[in-house]
């Protein structure tokens, strides 16, 4: 049985060599330029997951896990950083450079130590989350009780697209 197996192995190697040689010669004759094609690096299966930890001024750590990104999505990576934080000391490009410098295919945690002034943070939060009064009665509006009217109407279940549209 072992001899049979060795014979089979030798036959397989020989036939593979012969077939590939014939195939190579025929392809060289019909498509010589095809042999110059290189494997693109984008075919490499790469999966990254980055974790950014930012220490705020009041020492309350904020942990943000970015979505899994591939090499083909550098724009998405930068977009996620810009959408999540507005930092004064470190720019989004620098964060992206730090994340991109990690080894390919590795799951890595990148800890960025930076400080955001608490006053600036509160100011930023105020800008981001306006109150109900601000939404319904924006500054400079001549009729401040318009929002109240809208709330009453909507509570009755009567749609008023014009007023609701202005409230948004």
């Amino acid at each position: 049985m072992a001899i049979n197996f060795l014979i089979a192995l030798a036959t397989a190697l020989g036939s593979a060599t012969l077939i590939l040689l014939v195939l190579r010669l025929s392809l060289k004759a019909f498509a010589p330029n095809a042999f110059k094609e290189m494997i693109s690096t984008s075919e490499k299966p790469v999966e990254r997951q980055a974790t950014v930890r930012i220490h705020l001024a009041d020492r309350a750590p904020a942990l943000v896990r970015l979505p899994t990104l591939t090499e083909k999505q550098p724009e998405k990576l930068q977009q996620a950083i810009f959408d999540t934080f507005t930092l004064s000391d470190i720019s989004g490009t620098q964060i992206a450079a730090l994340l991109n410098s990690s080894a390919q295919g590795a799951r890595r945690t990148v800890v960025i130590e930076t400080t955001i002034p608490k006053a600036a943070k509160e100011k930023e939060e105020k800008k981001r989350v306006p109150s109900v009064e601000e939404i319904l009665s924006p500054p400079g509006q001549s009729t401040p009780n318009l929002g109240t009217t809208v709330l009453k109407k909507s509570s009755l279940g009567v749609p008023n697209e014009a007023l609701c549209g202005s409230a948004r």
């Binding site: 049985m1 049979n4 197996f5 014979i7 089979a8 192995l9 036959t11 397989a12 190697l13 036939s15 593979a16 060599t17 077939i19 590939l20 195939l23 190579r24 392809l27 498509a31 095809a34 042999f35 110059k36 094609e37 290189m38 494997i39 690096t41 075919e43 490499k44 299966p45």
Partner: protein, 123 residues
């Protein structure tokens, strides 16, 4: 024995040739992509060819031998997938080298069970 070899090895091989030509005709993949897929198909079909060894009565302890050959076929198929997926890690830069490597593994995995069936006088 001729009919046995034809049904166990010949027909699957001809089917692969047929589907490879069809893919070359209708898909937008390059020549090396088509050859790589053909090599992977050879590996997969060869796993089925090993099944014919289980039916071969003259082989003593056919189950054990066929199971060992089957495991070898599976390892060869895994090697072909490794070359396909991790070519850059294996320092294979050219698409032609990768395609020929996969094809070589496919041919080897196809010929070994066929020759074993022939040598053992398959019916």
């Amino acid at each position: 024995m001729g009919l046995f070899i034809l049904s166990a090895v010949g027909l699957p091989f001809l089917a692969i040739v047929f589907f490879t030509i069809l893919e070359a005709a209708f898909s937008t993949a390059g020549i090396w992509g088509i050859l790589s897929k053909a090599g992977l198909d050879l590996c997969r079909v060869s796993i089925g060819i090993v099944g014919a060894m289980f039916l071969d009565i003259p082989i003593r302890a056919a189950g054990t031998v066929a199971a060992a050959v089957l495991m070898m076929e599976v390892i060869l198929a895994a090697g072909a997938m490794l070359v396909d997926r991790r070519a850059i890690d294996l320092r294979i830069a050219r698409q032609s080298t990768r395609a020929f490597g996969i094809l070589a593994l496919g041919i080897i995995s196809m010929v070994i069970p066929a020759v074993l069936i022939v040598l053992n006088g398959g019916h």
